[in-house]
Structures are given as C-alpha cells and as structure tokens.
Subunit: 213 residues, 2 copies
DNA sequence: AGATTAATCTAACAAACGTTCGATGGAATT
DNA sequence: AATTCCATCGAACGTTTGTTAGATTAATCT
C-alpha cells in the first residue's frame, strides 16, 4: 500500500478547522459523558447522544470516526481529570508537609475531582468495568499511574511510621479508594458540600469509629 | 373481554410444569447474571444469554415474558441475597452480643454475600445505577429495608456509646458500604480469602490507620 | 401404545442500531 | 461577487436487536 504523500510545504499539524468545530465536538462529548454516566455503555446510542447535543446522528461523524472513539475520549478524560487533580494538589503542597496531610489532601482532591468535575469522572468510574477490554487497555497506563501514586503515598507514610504498618497496603488502598469512588452512586450536591464528605472520610480513615478513650 | 374460566376442580396455583422447566429457567438466570455483571445492562443481549445457557434465543420466551423480566429477576435476587445474608447472620448471634461484634458480623456477611454468592450480587451492585427507573423501583423496597438495617445498627451503637457519635451516620454508612461494595471491582478470590478483607475492613473501621500511641 | 402436554427449535418480523455518503446552506477567503 | 471550505442535514445501507408463531421433538400420563 502506498500512502499519499503530504505536500512538502503544508503546515505541519495544522488544525485547519473553524471555530465551530471545537464547540460541537465539546457538546458531543458532554452529551456522551452524561448518557454514559446515567445509562451505561451499551445503552448509550449515537442517536441519543446526537439528540442531547442538538444535532443529527450522521453529523457526529464529521467530528469522530466512530462511536467507540467518543466513548474512549470520555473515559480517558475522566480518568485524567482525577489523576491530574490529585497529582497537582499534592504538587502544590509545601515540601515540608507531613504524610498525613498529604493523604488528607489526596482524599479531598480525589473527591473534588470525582463529584464536581461534570459527568466525565463519574462516567469513567462507573462504566470502566463494563466496557470491552480494548477500551480498558487504552486508559490503563493512566489508571496504573494513579494506582502507583496512591501506593507510593501510603508506602511512604507507612515507612515513616505516620500510619500503621500492620495493615496490608494492597487491601487498604482499594478499600479506601472504593469508599471514595462509591460516592458517585449516592452523593447529592444539594445536601452537603464535597468538603464535608472529605473531612469525615479522613477523620474515619485516621481515627476509626471507636470513641477516644 | 371474556376470560376463559378455569375448571372448578382444577388444583389452585398448580405449577403444571415439568422438572426440566425450573432447570432451564435457572440456567437462563445464571447466564443473564454473568453477562449482566461483565457487560452491563445495555450490552446484555438475549442471544448471548441464550448462547451461554446453551439454548436458542426464542426458547427463552417459554420461561420469561420479556428480557426485562429476566434482568429484573437477576437484580432482585442479588439484592435479596445480600440483605438476607446479613439479616440472618445478625439473627444468628446470641442476644447478649455487643454492638461492635454485631457490626463486625454485618461487615463480614455483607462481603461474604457479595463476593462468594455467584454473579447475582455483583450484577445487582454494579448495574443497579444504570438500569431504567422502572427497574430500580421494583427492588427499591428491599434496598430500602437494607439501608434501614444498617442505619439501625449504627444508630444503636452510637446511642450506647459503642462508636463515636460525632460522626454523621448519613455519611458514615454510605462511606462504609461503598468501601465494601467496591470490592466487586477488584477482589480476586485467587489472591486472598474473603475473611481477610473483612478482617482488615473492620480493623480500619474501628481503629483507623494511625499508629496506636 | 397412544394421546397429551412440556420444552425447544427454526424462521421470520419490525424496530433500532452504527455507519456511509451525496446534497446543502453558511462562513470565510479571494 | 465569486469561490472555497466548514459543518450539518437527510436518507439510505446492512446488522443486530427483542419478540412472535408454527413446526418439532421430548417427556409424561392414561
């Protein structure tokens, strides 16, 4: 197969697209994220996405090559928002801050990203387990990096004696993150601010539910 | 419309069905639960269910009136298994047992039902949030009863001073149950027994992660 | 054994699915 | 003012979907 050679003087990586393209592309992604979050992977149809986005189903193919490309973009964007949110929150801390405050910051940032970052994060959390394997693999490097981030965070705290070292970190981490992730199933922003959930989660994580004796 | 009157001497509520019917019905439900757990609601098709169950798609309609009836049965059975598992475990305890041991028992029973009770519980946990509202309402009484069970458990413990009363139970409960529910996303029975997860979850819940001073 | 009922198969249906493509109007460029 | 390109529409395509119904086999009963 011979590929058609690009003109030598053509501008490289030129996004020769108008202003409206990015706008519609964003609306399509927003609609897909919303559908994906509420109805799951299999029930999110192109025609419903188009309807929510306010365009015709066929028009989507001007912006995306396939349905899978849309859902893939939504999923990756969701994972990235959580990962980068927590990473940046940690990076913004002063160098001399303790392990416990780093963990507290990470918990708060995770919840903040999850619950106040639109439908992308929720869609990603809720549907990752049910999409075809090819999808999962595409965003797996990001997910893996996020897992490592938490593993390092907890391992460093254990090594310094800031938290108990008799707890298996391979159980502790998913139990903690599971508790946070599940908030997408029940949290109602009209009831409480996200910070309240974060504060109590950290309190429980650190001190447990037994009364102080 | 005139309904065909049943013979007067016919046995009432007679399940005039052979032995094989219940067997196939069970296989269909098993297949549906497995599909539902792995691919979610929208991607679970009747033909795939039939294939897994080892029959033809059309034959399903001898046992069920519609696809929705199957999925509904799977979902309800999953919720019921968790609810009754925990309820019975608590009922089996001696009367004089303390609040903390009751909570410990409930956590262990919840995880046990979730992780070793086939695909029904996992399917129910994972897909409840993405099925149409009409579905959710059918199993809502059971879910509500389960929520009340935990609320009573925690409220009683707080009232007796067995656990801290400065924690909001409306945050504590979903955070705890979320931590447990999320295990369906990561738990691998080949790695550890369920009891290990339960033990560490209770340990964390009671004492927190800070070192004992 | 013959008759009756239980259970499954096969083949088809209409609707909805992801996707393609030529026509079409508006915006930007010349 | 004419032209070029961006963005969308509208209608169609081949599949797959849930569902139906008559034919067919397996099991049970008299």
């Amino acid at each position: 197969m011979t590929e058609t050679a690009a003109p030598l003087n053509a501008p490289l990586n030129a996004p020769r697209r108008g202003r409206k393209s990015a706008l519609s592309r964003g609306q399509i992604l927003d609609a897909a994220a919303r559908m994906l979050r509420r109805q799951g992977y299999g029930n999110t149809t192109l025609r419903k996405i188009a309807e929510v986005a306010g365009i015709q189903a066929g028009s989507i193919y001007y912006h995306f090559a396939s349905k899978d490309e849309i859902l893939d973009a939504v999923l990756e964007r969701g994972v990235r928002a959580v990962y980068e949110g927590v990473r940046d929150a940690l990076a913004a801390l002063p160098d001399n801050v303790g392990h416990l405050q780093r963990i507290e910051t990470a918990v708060a940032a995770h919840l903040q990203a999850l619950l106040s970052h639109g439908d992308y994060t929720s869609a990603s959390i809720r549907t990752y387990g049910e999409v075809p394997e090819a999808f999962q693999q595409k965003s797996q490097p990001l997910r893996e990096a996020y897992v490592v981030l938490w593993q390092d965070l907890l391992a460093a705290a254990q090594a310094d004696g800031a938290i108990r070292s008799d707890l298996d970190p391979h159980i502790l981490r998913p139990l903690l993150l599971g508790s946070l992730n599940w908030t997408v199933e029940w949290y109602d922003p009209a009831q409480r601010p996200v910070a309240d959930i974060a504060a109590q989660a950290v309190d429980m994580l650190f001190h447990g539910v037994l009364p102080k004796d």
